[in-house]
Amino acid sequence: MNAPRVWNTLEVNRAERLGRARAVLGNQMQGKALPAARIADLLHAVLECGDRVCLEGNNQKQADFLGQALAQLDPARVNGLHMLQSVLALPEHLDVFDRGVASKLDFSFSGPQAGRVAKLVSAGKLNIGAIHTYLELFSRYFVDLPPRVALIAAEAADRHGNLYTGPNTEDTPAIVEATAFKNGIVIVQVNQIMDTLPRIDVPGDWVDFVVQSPQPYYIEPLFTRDPAQISEIQVLMAMMAIKGIYAEYGVERLNHGIGFDTAAIELLLPTYAESLGLKGKIGRNWALNPHPALIPAIESGFVESVYSFGSELGMENYIRARPDVFAVGPDGSMRSNRALCQAAGHYACDMFIGSTLQIDLQGNSSTATLGRIAGFGGAPNMGADARGRRHASPAWLKAGEEARRGRNTIPRGQKLVVQIVETFREHMQPAFVEKLDAWELAEQANMAIPPVMIYGDDVTHILTEEGIANLLLCRSDEEREQAIRGVAGYTPVGLGRDKRMVEELRGRGIIRRAEDMGIDKRMATRDLLAAKNMKDLVRASGGLYDPPKRFRNW
């Protein structure tokens, strides 16, 4: 007869790990807290070779103390780790592979380290499982990639291990839940240990070890854009976006990408959009980080609510003073949640508008460039039609109607997905190309498919300085290609247009120029921006916004 099957191997394994930690740290533990100097001993004790380890760090906050400790472990004792990470942002995130502590990676985004990721892949030191969107990666933590050990960051802990994650809660809840409820080990670095927390974001019995890091965790003010750098072309494109898309569809619920193109739109809401009588009709409810550029639109009453993926450095006091707008807890500080906000951006928003690096003739949009494996972040979930959505709104219905007009299909809506891009980027790099760099990158890095950020069949509008192409109204691949060429300016793709067909598409309203929308280009100056520099933003906030030093130029 076979031996009876054991059903609690994970539980037993967890107890062994905790036992080893107790043996090594002994009386140095104070409740769940250990001295920072002993972090390497703790990691050597609880980690096993080949473990799946989730290191918290998004494009904003980073569990940097734990990440550095991990990178310095002895690869003779701990190796072959399978890293799970939202974002690879810091050098130590790659050092773990370079030193042989880790060998496999499932991730979402690697912006600043994309070049080094590509090098380590080709050197055979880093084996990529897959590149995901944030929501996709979190989802896998609960299905086939539960972490054995999670290394996370919080503002503060108490002696029971309860955590206060504050405004930058971000990815923490998803990671902790996936780990704690699969008998994994949760280790947290905190900026301080307190007797009483302002509020409890993570209950202490889901947390195993707490270490106060010598420095507060690193955080990047990723969503701060200095209005002084917004160009007149961006003002012109923002005018076209507001009049030709926001007003046209009555877009009330939306998400903006990162960058100066969308910052310009935010700064035109209280000026240009207000002059068109659009207050209360567009841009009311947002899934968005607390962009400082949104302050004038909030103050003027344009924006009614903002739910955030993370917070933004310097915005804390402003947020605290605007609890009707932001998700503020009983303690007065904001809570963010990246997983929930990604879901909100996907299902509860009528529009995503954001920039990109390359668009091809089918409208596929990619930020992949040769020699860099950068990943996606959240853009593919924001910039995709939510096929599972069932509730209607005027914007969603109008987009769906345009896509299905003249076709014998059951009525349904569609999300507006807008790519806003100047036809030439810096150094006269064309934003429109016959073939995306993503194809060559896929070949170089041995990927199953080219890394496309937003697929052409999800893109509804392309907006450039030359006008708007409404892809919903195109009825053939040829029309679609000419609509794209027709706003591609003087790039080779734009110069290759069939002029007669482009004029015909313009006659049908598929291509619209500024003049077709009744936009006076002479208004496209920086005078239209509700704030022209960082100081204007501070002033608009009534002195509540406190920009990070690097943005203070006065």
Binding site: E232, I233, M428, Y490, K521, R522
Partner: protein
């Protein structure tokens, strides 16, 4: 530096007498002088550009500009410091629109 010259003959619209200067000479920007001048009905454009090798794009940008506005007896001088076609077209359109309105 590169100098490019274009001349278009079939224009119909004349500008106000007062010349317009728009833009600034700075990296990624350009300065444009537009003036009314007796040129037998032609519109001439002279471009001095710091970015060498973009003649084909300039020609296309100027061709479209002329088709948009059909200017006659107009002299346009451009001092370019690597502006994109987007900036070039916007500056020209802004200046011409003002001068045409002044001419009414």
């Amino acid at each position: 530096m590169e100098t490019l010259n274009y001349r278009y003959e079939n224009g119909t619209r004349t500008l106000a007498k007062n010349p317009q200067i728009v833009g600034v000479v700075g990296s990624g920007n350009l300065e444009v002088l537009i003036e009314s001048a007796p040129l037998d009905g032609a519109c001439t454009i002279e471009i001095k550009t710091a970015a060498v090798g973009f003649g084909a794009i300039w020609e296309a940008v100027m061709h479209d500009f002329h088709e948009r506005w059909l200017l006659a007896d107009a002299r346009i001088s451009i001092n370019d410091m690597g502006a994109t076609p987007a900036v070039v077209s916007l500056r020209l359109d802004q200046a011409v629109q003002t001068m045409l309105e002044d001419a009414r």
